[in-house]
């Protein structure tokens, strides 16, 4: 079945210049492989179409269940120049949570929030 990333992982975004990094942390170690396979830089760039204007890099830390995305050109030219109300991109991490991930049905009881037991 397909579930939003929010059922499998939590995220936080941070700023440096015109770069936003979004860390994705799997709730359980077993979830990590599915995320690493499906949450590719290309998929993330497409998901953030019109918001991330540069390259997306991905750093993998499997032993911590972590994928760290570094998005260039994501903050409107930089925090002080941005015309976006959220000029630090603090809410960008939340936008990642709607990416859909294909998972085994057996994970259903272990999903977080409203998706649990689906």
């Amino acid at each position: 079945m397909r579930v939003p990333l929010r059922a499998l992982a939590h995220t936080r975004s941070g700023d440096k210049g015109d770069i936003s990094n979004i860390v994705v942390v799997a709730y359980e170690p077993e979830f990590y492989a599915a995320l690493a396979e499906q949450l590719t830089p290309a998929r993330v760039k497409a998901h953030f179409k019109g918001v991330i204007n540069g390259a997306v890099e991905r750093y993998e830390v499997p032993r911590l269940g972590v994928l760290n995305f570094v998005a260039h050109g994501a903050l409107g030219g930089g925090v002080s120049r941005s015309l976006c109300l959220d000029n630090y991109g603090k809410a960008l991490g939340a936008a990642m949570l709607s990416v859909e991930i294909e998972i085994p049905d057996a994970w259903s009881p272990r999903l977080r929030g409203a998706n649990q037991g689906r």
Binding site: D15, I19, V23, L83, L85, A95, R112
Partner: protein, 448 residues
């Protein structure tokens, strides 16, 4: 031996009462304040030129110190803080006065200076910009500030020389927390492994409540108890740099594997190479262990030798942003907002506004995530229209507010609007980065 280090602030606007609580109940050896953002120094330099009464350091210095000094004096807790901004000596002198208010005249107070770089010096260094690879001279607009991120060494030296309070200008955030570890555990400035582990702990601490349940809660997914009562973190640091991250008892929030991991990667790019002035930190080998309620042990963070360069942050005046908003509610709110946008865009043509970029958003629909926002499944009951433009001159930026004013009587039906109550124009100070040779900077310690 374990060193107890508490956080007292994560930025200039942070809450003060959790710092007081850490001082009073944290049984701390050190209380560390981080009060600077990327643009703090440039904003301070601009303000200092226009406002002779501006002291050049944290505007909440008195409030923060008065909140923690009684307990710090009582416990003998030392303070390390970057509240000095562009005037560390002034801030240290003020801290000394505040100590005297509490009857303490024999505490040594030190200022660490040397982070500010003059424009002549900056050009002479011949650095290239990290953003473009171009020379300093390619920065558009007037340069108003340049400062290097200094490391933990001068802070540690000041502490070793007996300072009970050390106040700095620009230093890397983790360095504020690393310096006490170096002093108490006797680490050399070239001990990459311990400095890496210690800086990793410093990175977890530098954003205060972001590791104790702040910037975290997501109802139904990540629930946090009593989020109105968050504590600032405490690190119990062992001689090898590994530490238990915890918080004062009977407070809200949480310290757990999830809060640790979100903060570990906050503002980090390559997690195997997180560069600070002191060391190159490797988070990929970190070990995170649950040690009971709100106690998490973090060890195994790696470190590689520090680089030969220091990062310099450069601020340049680039122009202005004009911004204002008005709002709609009830049936047809979105349609009225869309008509209002059309009216504004036509009027901006009529008045020939000179803007580099204009953005019109609908709060509640697309103002935060912009182009990637989904089309609303149902008509939004309320919509606020926000207008922002970036311009070269203040007078062009002021036109945004003037045209929003006009929407009150010359716009759409049922337009709600505030009477202008604040300056609707702000200055844009672009931030640039460059690397300079480490030897180009000479940190200095001043006892006041």
């Amino acid at each position: 031996m374990t060193v107890r280090i508490g956080a007292g602030a994560a930025w200039w606007g942070d809450r003060i009462s959790p710092a007081a609580l850490n001082a009073a109940e944290g049984d701390l050896d050190y209380l560390c304040f981080e009060t600077m953002a990327e643009a703090t120094v440039s904003a301070a330099q601009v303000r200092a030129r226009r406002d002779p009464s501006f002291k050049g350091y944290d505007t909440y210095l008195d409030d923060r110190m008065r909140a923690v000094l009684p307990a710090c004096i009582n416990r003998g807790t030392r303070i390390v803080s970057n509240q000095g901004w562009i005037n560390p000596i002034g801030a240290a002198t003020r801290a000394k006065e505040l100590l005297a208010e509490h009857g303490i005249t024999n505490w040594k107070v030190a200022a660490v200076t040397g982070s500010v770089i003059s424009l002549d010096r900056l050009h002479a260094l011949g650095a290239t910009l990290m953003e473009t690879g171009g020379p300093i001279s390619s920065i558009p607009g007037e340069i108003v500030s340049a400062e290097a991120y200094l490391g933990a060494e001068p802070i540690a030296d000041a502490l070793k020389a007996g300072a009970r309070i050390v106040i700095t200008g620009r230093v890397a955030d983790p360095s504020i927390f690393l310096a006490p570890m170096m002093v108490e555990h006797g680490w050399s400035a070239h001990d990459a492994l311990r400095l890496g582990q210690g800086s990793g702990i410093g990175h977890l601490m530098e954003c205060g409540a972001q590791v104790t349940g702040g910037y975290f809660a997501d109802p139904g997914y990540k629930d946090v108890s009593e989020p109105w009562n968050l504590a600032f973190p405490i690190a119990e640091v062992d001689a090898d740099g590994s530490a238990v991250i915890t918080k004062v008892a009977k407070t809200g929030g949480a310290v757990n594997r999830q809060t640790i991991l979100e903060q570990m990667f906050y503002e980090v790019h390559d997690p195997a190479n997180y560069i600070t002035p002191d060391v190159v930190v490797d988070f990929t080998s970190a070990v995170i262990e649950d040690k009971g309620a709100n106690r998490v042990r973090v060890s195994g963070i790696g470190g590689k030798a520090r680089t030969d360069t220091l990062k310099v942050s450069i601020g340049a005046q680039e122009g202005f942003i004009g911004e204002d908003m008005f709002f709609y509610a009830g049936p047809g709110a979105l349609e009225r907002a869309q008509l209002a946008e059309r009216i504004l865009r036509e009027r901006f043509k009529i008045i020939e506004i000179k803007a580099e970029d204009i953005r019109i958003d609908f709060l509640g629909v697309n103002a935060i995530h912009g182009a990637m926002s989904p089309v609303p499944a149902a008509p939004p009951y309320e919509v606020a229209v926000r207008v922002a433009a970036r311009t070269k001159t203040r007078s062009e930026a002021e036109k945004i507010g003037r045209e929003v004013d006009a929407m009150a009587v010359s716009g759409v039906g049922h337009t709600g609007k505030r009477v202008p109550h604040a300056d609707r124009v702000r200055e844009v100070i672009g931030v640039w980065s460059a690397l300079v040779p480490r030897a180009a900077l000479t940190p200095q310690i001043h006892f006041v």
